[in-house]
Symmetry: C2
């Protein structure tokens, strides 16, 4: 299919990213101190305060989802995306958020825009029981267009669910998928190229096959899994968590696998929501590519012992988040098999 | 003087920044939890882990100094700027750095550039005894030009010098200025407008009145004051520290003053290094403006009891950093008086 859109054509080179990552890993290793308790490539960096208590920090951005916010002139949702993304990352390390800080960089400071961005951050911080303790608003003429900005965030949390951080997963453990609330914060370069450049849609147009606008579908905030998982995590029913972000299920679930187990994920176990079906159909991209670029409807995967699956599923559902039994762990070599 | 260059003309509106800051302070206040131990507007956000140990976090960017790095094609110094800036910020709260995380956003990932940036970060982290525990490298097509990027960093430290964080300064305390290593990371929009646009200089040209190039002068890394101050801080000889960044001496020294004292700073107490004299002469900007935009040769101010001044000055000098007695604290209303 020669006109299928791929992520590389959309301007994102995941291979170059991987090469740089390997070189960066060496540089990072040289700075290791006694305070460090995590390996390069974790969902969050774990470190130890002088008293032995483990903390986890993580940094993230919103990526080109911001461009959709600019087009729609809507700036109070991207902060929610950022906070929830960071909270999910450290949750996958077994931590609950303590504090959050933001970095907003713009060309010329527009007080209304910055205030809307911070309002989103503050709302999500409150919802996650996390304090927004500071931030940097940088005015950088010549870096950003009028009304445009970049946004990054940093979270620090404390280990609250140590078992999740230890990832003692076993053969036969079940992969329980938690529904995403939409695209979350990944695949937006692909989506923008497809919807705006190729299909010529505008943010106010109807998103194909839905009764929502393009802006509504694309700006739906990244969901936080802290509240839905809280009961199950407190009860120790979950052995590991994989936050499904850039790289999709295959690029994130592998991070919680030991060298002797594979994860089998049956893609027939759930129906990707309409936006993913539309993106697949209109782009012509092969399924493999779609599963690497998008979360496909699964935002978090919990690895759960078989005897606890029913209980976890019901606790998560009770908190308003749908779940799907995706597959299980089988003998293998640390890989993810989509079947 | 009608052709004098001001910061606002250079595209930076400090007044709009202040207005947004007030609105943001209210939003931030709503997220306060029991973990927060600092007020809005501190050099760093202080928070408490469950065991009662105080930590301090801070976030910063490099600002438009990055544009000079792009013009010079030199990417291994801006990471040093960023780490040292963050380390100085939490030092002013009495904290030593534990861990650092970075956010690098670029249009298309160039592995050589990203690796050079991280090499600078890693070198400065090592020098400050701080671990680089993670980072986000975001590829955002359409946000950044070829070879360009934005860079932000986040540090978490532990309170090591609690007296500095408490700021129990008294009438008669002496203001001891520590020499900056150059422009550090402030005033670059002003500088670029003046040197490149108005004077038509290039980064390879000689910086006026010096035997260094424009790139060499402008890319000199922001110095860390952790090592020079370590002995004096450990011995409890310093009552407060003000890191002189955006806003200059008047915009930062006021942050450590109680409501009933003024800081008197005698500008004749030191000679600003040649680059500041050149920037003043060529811009025609009034002295007040220069002192708000630039550090003018003073990167950190230590508030020291009179009986300790000689000792602190000799300890800091022994570590290779020049000092100047700038003035003292007098009865007043929390203001900074440049005389």
């Amino acid at each position: 299919m020669t006109d299928a859109l791929t992520y590389r054509e959309a301007g994102v080179d995941l291979e170059a990213a991987r090469r740089a990552k390997a070189r960066i890993a060496e540089l990072v290793e040289c700075t290791r101190t006694g305070a460090v308790a995590s390996r390069f490539g974790s969902f969050g960096g774990r470190f130890r305060a002088a008293d032995g208590r483990d903390l986890v920090a993580s940094v993230d951005g919103v990526g080109t989802k911001l461009k959709v916010a600019f087009l729609a002139g809507r700036h109070d949702t991207v902060g929610i995306d950022l906070v929830n993304h960071c909270v999910n990352d450290i949750l996958a390390e077994g931590a609950r958020p303590l504090v959050f800080m933001d970095y907003v960089a713009c060309g010329t400071l527009d007080p209304d825009i910055v205030t809307a961005v911070v309002a989103g951050l503050a709302r999500a911080c409150r919802d996650n029981g996390c304090a927004l303790i500071g931030g940097e608003t940088a005015e950088m003429p010549d870096f950003y267009g009028v009304g445009e900005y970049d946004l990054a965030g940093f979270v620090v949390g404390e280990i609250a669910y140590p078992a999740v951080g230890e990832r003692r997963v076993e053969e036969g453990d079940v992969l329980l998928g938690l529904a995403s609330s939409g695209l979350h914060t990944n695949g937006y370069s692909f989506v923008r190229r497809l919807l705006f450049d190729r299909l010529g849609l505008e943010v106010t147009d109807r998103f194909p096959d839905t009764d929502r606008t393009v802006a509504e579908v694309l700006l739906t905030p990244h969901r936080s899994y802290l509240a839905p998982l809280e009961s199950s995590l407190s009860a120790g029913r979950v052995r590991a968590l994989a936050h499904i972000t850039g790289g999709g299920i295959p690029g994130n679930l592998d991070r919680v696998l030991p060298a002797d187990l594979d994860a089998v994920v049956r893609t027939a176990a759930w129906t990707p929501p309409v936006e993913f079906r539309v993106l697949g159909r209109e782009s012509g991209a092969p399924g493999d590519e779609l599963f690497r670029v998008f979360n496909m409807g699964i935002g978090m995967i919990a690895v759960v012992p078989p005897g606890e699956v029913e209980r976890v599923a019901s606790e998560v559902s009770a908190a308003g988040c749908e779940t799907f039994v995706l597959g299980e762990l089988v003998p293998g070599s640390g890989g993810v098999r989509l079947e």
